[in-house]
């Protein structure tokens, strides 16, 4: 938990700094919007953490988001008689949502089975899945965009509890994140299944020798990951309103980065749901902060000017933050093992 606490402190300091530089950072509309972004990322960052904790990786989650979004837009989007290709088929949400989530779960199952039953590497299986599913999305949208139109599902992203429509105090994605986080915490930290995930990530062979059904547990991790991708996909479809083949590209990398920032180790066997959520917060706050950050100063001739960060810096800053985080993590591990050796020497020598 020390890692999570450290990142939480970093997050608070980051927010404080941004608020000092620009009071609008804590303005209602920016807070609600950032919360929505954090929530959607958090949902699938939690899912991918299940896979990373087993020592695996899921590169397909961004494509799963794209595909479920496209599917739900096709099924539930408003029907435009004059141009059917630009909209959906007009089915109610209770048809589209289960179908989209079912497809996501099947994708996870297929990938999990390939990885565990055929002993294929997670990296290559999910890389294949990522490309293949992206292609499937393209065939569904036929290269264009699908408009969700004015259907109940569209309120999923912008509606919420308390406050006016479109600017709710608690947007639905945030409530979804809370639900996913609660369920994820229960599964990961309070069930036998969760313990098995850590054991597999900590030492796969010892887990097998302890009688753990390694393959089944691991397969389930991929199903969970893909399912959270599906949930996030629904939110993004509602949020964007216009689904194209572009939605979800590179999101797997954001999710991995968020998880790692929150202390989910790619070595496997380490990490918490809370950490994945904090990592998601940091990712999105940095993203938002690059837009919000400003610095007032007077130039040489005494004229007041405002310094702002160039948007092109986004990737540079996020990349640097991730590298610094893993370097700190590695340093902490080194210190820990040094201390262990010293303690051993002291206890034996005496």
């Amino acid at each position: 938990m020390r890692r999570e606490l450290g990142m939480l402190v970093a997050l608070v300091l980051l927010c404080l700094g941004l608020w000092l530089s620009n009071g609008d950072f804590l303005g209602a509309s920016n807070v609600v919007n950032t919360t929505r972004q954090v929530s959607m990322l958090g949902v699938f960052a939690i899912g991918i953490s299940f896979v990373i904790i087993t020592g695996g990786i899921d590169l397909s989650i961004g494509s799963v988001i794209g595909l479920t979004g496209v599917l739900v837009a096709r099924l539930c989007g408003q029907y435009y008689a004059e141009n059917p290709a630009a909209g959906g088929l007009g089915y109610p949400w209770w048809v589209g949502v289960p179908v989209a989530l079912g497809v996501a779960a099947l994708i996870g199952l297929a990938q999990g089975l390939l990885i565990t039953r055929l002993n294929l590497q997670p990296f290559i299986v999910t890389l294949g899945g990522m490309l293949l599913l992206r292609g499937v999305s393209q065939t569904v949208v036929k290269g264009g965009t699908l408009s969700l139109g004015d259907v109940p599902l569209a309120r999923l992203a912008n509606g919420g509890l308390f406050g006016s429509e479109g600017n709710a105090l608690l947007p639905y994605p945030f409530l979804i994140l809370l639900a996913v986080a609660a369920l994820g915490t229960y599964l990961l930290h309070f069930t036998v299944f969760g313990r098995y995930l850590y054991a597999i990530g900590g030492n796969r062979e010892a887990a097998e020798y302890s009688g753990i059904p390694v393959k089944r547990v691991e397969t389930l991790a991929y199903v969970i990951s893909a399912l959270t991708g599906g949930v996030a996909g629904l939110c993004y479809a509602a949020y964007i309103g216009q689904m194209s083949q572009q939605v979800g590209i590179a999101y797997e990398l954001y999710a991995i980065a968020a998880a790692v920032l929150g202390g989910v180790s790619l070595r496997g066997g380490e990490g918490t749901v809370l950490g994945a959520v904090i990592g998601s917060c940091i990712m999105r706050v940095i993203d938002n902060g690059i837009n919000m950050f400003q610095w007032m100063y007077r130039d040489a001739s005494g004229v007041r000017r405002i310094f702002r960060l160039d948007n092109n810096w986004t990737y540079i800053i996020i990349g640097a933050v991730i590298l610094v985080a893993v370097i700190l993590d590695q340093a902490a591990h080194l210190v820990e093992s040094k201390r262990r050796t010293r303690r051993a020497a002291a206890s034996q020598g005496g």
Binding site: Y198, A199, G202, N203, A207, Y209, G211, E270, A344, Q348
Partner: protein, 498 residues
Amino acid sequence: MRGISKSFPGVRALDGVSLTLGRGEVLALTGENGAGKSTLIKILGGAQPPDAGEILIDGRPVRFASVRDAKRAGIALIHQELMLAPNLDVAGNIFLGNEARPLGLASVLRRGATRRAAAELLLRVGLQHGPDTPVARLTVGEMQMVEIAKALALRARIIIMDEPTSSLTAGESQKLFQIIRQLQADGIAVIYISHRMEEVLDLADRVTVLRDGRHVGDLARGEATHGKIVALMVGRELAANYFPPRPAVPPAEPVLVVKDLLVPGAPAPVSFTAARGEILGFAGLVGSGRTELMQALFGAVPALAGTIELEGRAFLPRRPQDAIARGVYLAPEDRKRHGLVLPMTIVQNVSLPAIGGQGWGWLDRGREQRTAEVEVARFRVKTPSVRRQVVNLSGGNQQKVVLGKWLALTPRVLILDEPTRGIDVGAKAEIYGHMARLAAEGLTILMVSSEMEEVLGMSDRVVVMRERRLAGILGRAEASPRAVAALMTGGQEASPAA
């Protein structure tokens, strides 16, 4: 080497060890498992830095930051598990890392020159194959010669061999000894690590004995005898009561009946039985197929054919889950790899096989904590808390956690593969005590051990394996060190398999 010390998590591996080596001298380094031989040569070979002490070559102190440094100083280390790239040919391996490279990594490989140089070296070590034979096609003995050729290519002045004969046939060993004498004649010093006394006495100019990380004696060629070396190796702590007295097991119904079991990689099937309350020892050299047999009984690497009967019912595990469901548990040889999840706590490790019993739902943390506390108390695991990560425990305490994890369930047959490897003497005696008590309570124990004393001290009967076959089964009365060793090595006294 002077005053070398080294510690690892949980162990003080070396404590002020000094070692001298003359030009062209063959020094045998002996000691029990865990005495610190491997650590000492790793330090000399530059693979690990010492915590204290210094190394002098020709009177000049040297510091090795890496294996590369040590090689440059003329020290070549040949590991017990050979370190060759099987996908490359012989010549490529001999010069691996030592290629002529005037242009750094961009240099063109000079295959012609390499081949000629390799052929010359192969002649010196007496290898019959050409320099472009793929290494994967060589026998272990031939690979060893490639390793020696590799050392010669470095113009090594000191060659260290770690248990070089452990997986060689008698003929191959003889050939190796010839090469060693040849090296000696060329002025190259050899440090030779071996458990086999005949080899040590035959080859060495001097014998250095380590025990528990300390240098306990040096014997010159004339004064070294088998008895003296063993006395130094085991020290005085090894009193007769080291092994708990065990009453002879009255003939009982066999609990486990193994019939014509064909283990993957074995040339022939094996059959044996084990009775209630019996400790059945498995002796053999490294690579004699004992571990593989145990893995087949545990379902980790399922058997290809044959039958097993457990308590009168058929038992053919396809995976560890099947064996665990029937009460057959394995404490594996490599406990860090197969036995424990090191970053997890004692509680989590002990409960790992048990928690799945009620499905995958809510985890009863109170119960797992209580179970772990019971096991920690039973085995007297030295730890401040059951919530400590097992990576922080010493080898002996880790092994006790592995045992605790299985005894928290209901064992019918307990398989112990090298139960005391790398464990200090005190913990060893404790583990023997537990084994004797469990057997007296009616548990059947299969114990694989490479320590002759352990096999003879603990077993009711001894199954001896050789080259992945069952070489013979000896009762307690017949199982003398000589008889077991003869079966292990295929000597003259071999009796037909029982």
